[in-house]
Amino acid sequence: MYNSEQKRVAKLLKKMYRKGILTEKSIWIFGVSDNTRQIIQMLRDLGVEPAGILDNDPAKQDSFCARIRVYPVDFQKVHLEKSHIFLVYSFFWKEMVRQLQSLMVSRENICCLYQKKKGLPRQFWMAWRGRRICHRLFRIYGELPVFLCPYTGTGDIYLIGTFWKQYLRAAGIENYIFLVISSACKKTAGIFDIRNVELLRTQEEGEYLIKYYMLCPDEICLKLLNDSWGQIRGNPLQWFRGYRGLYFMELFRTFVFNLPDDALPERPVLKDAGDELDHIFEKYQLPEGKTVLLSPYANTLADLPDDFWVLLAKKLMERGYRVCTNSSGEKEPAVKGTVPVFFPLNIAPQFVERAGYFIGVRSGFCDVISAAEARKIILYDRENRFFNSSAYAYFSLNHMGLCHDAVEIEFENRTPYIYIEMILHALTGTED
């Protein structure tokens, strides 16, 4: 969900909240997705906790999405109660609504938050806007090939960076424009020698450019740096993610970069960030080589309950570590009892290297710090699926070749606490 869409949905939920709809009824959300995670966050901002998530995929049932349990759609108790409201935000909303109705849920208890941008004139207007953006860029850089990353995932940008030089060499490209839609992505691109990185003014500008490309593919040399993107309707590649060995790295290597199977991701050469790090370590009083950076937040994959992190931090502190949390502000607060730290992504690997230790759930941030020479523990929910495979199989840092020294642990989401000792053991290398 782009920022403007997030604002629209948040406004809609706020309106429902004021009317008492969200407080009088139990909230169920249909479908495990990034959008669902964002909606859960919006509800939590209003002080509302959803009762559960419904999903048709048996692989997702019984797992957790943003710490809320996922149930099958025909989970009987749900539909018998009239005091339940079902939130739907999906491209496939029509069939979801029909499915709920077939289970005797009344239409008035189904709230569709999804809004399709309708109308052909609007589509043309979007393409025209894309054309103007394109001309604006060409005025600055000249008529160069345009590479577009229309997403906010820093992990994707990092993976692109590791193949970038090989790709340019193989494709014979010398100069180009590299477009991103978030400053975090721009910072991540800064870890590599990627030239002409331009941050688009709004996230929608990426959408307009794609629209222009779809209308006039011969007028612009544009390449989307993703294996599959919803707006490009003719390409069904995303549905094979995790199928028959088509994991994150493999899909990018083969289908984004057309590189052979023996092409491996190249680690970035980390720049000297000594001065900046001195300042940060002094500011937060972090001891070098004895600091653990916690990263408890993930957008795409499953995370762990707050209590787990609090207990883990407590145990780490008892063992003499200084514990800090990678915290970007109010929406991602520090784990209770730890120091909130914030630093630019382009010096994140150097930060972890100096800290000495990193523990985090699998997120894009893990890709970014993967090159750090430090003790890195990456946590994956064993039951978390990503399309056709487990999250671990799809995103494993070691398997992707981003590093070979990460300790990757799959945990059972019902009993995460039993993994604390295992994590401590992996961190210190001693039996506890």
Binding site: E95, C216, G234, L246
Partner: protein
């Protein structure tokens, strides 16, 4: 840009004409057999019922521009509430180009494997272990698996 706009508008006119002619609504699915890959067309027919189930639809319309494919589809159509029609290839392409630009109907599947140029399905078939049946079930119909035993 003006030429492309006219092309898309033309595609929209074809869509409006066919929507009325075939009475397309959300209780129906539309399968367009393109003839680009015979195996894909075959499995698209074999798994059509699975797709209808997923879309909670009870009827289907199949369009083809090739007479041979249309005959196959028509023979298949005698099994359950499906109707097959023969249409002009040019109109079919206009409809697809318009679909790629604006998604005007949720319940439509085209069996193109290499059109438009960003469609990587042909490469998936050529360069990976994914076979045609899996390509149809996962890629085109977005089913959760390729159920070879319980086709339809």
């Amino acid at each position: 840009m003006f030429r492309q706009i006219c092309h898309i508008v033309h595609g929209r006119l074809v869509w409006l004409k066919w929507k009325r002619r075939f009475r397309l609504d959300h209780r129906k699915v539309l399968l367009v057999l393109t003839g680009e890959n015979e195996q894909i067309d075959k499995y698209a027919l074999l798994h059509l019922k699975d797709y209808m189930r997923r879309k909670v639809a009870d009827r289907a319309v199949i369009l083809a521009s090739d007479r041979k494919i249309w005959k196959q589809a028509a023979a298949f159509a005698s099994c359950f509430p499906v109707k097959a029609y023969l249409v002009k290839e040019q109109e079919l392409l206009l409809l697809y180009d318009y679909y790629c630009f604006e998604e005007y109907f949720d319940n439509v599947v085209f069996t193109f494997v290499s059109r438009p140029k960003d469609n990587l399905l042909e490469r998936v078939l050529r360069e990976t272990d994914v076979d045609e049946e899996e390509a149809v079930c996962l890629g085109l119909y977005c089913l959760r698996s390729a159920d070879r035993e319980g086709r339809g």
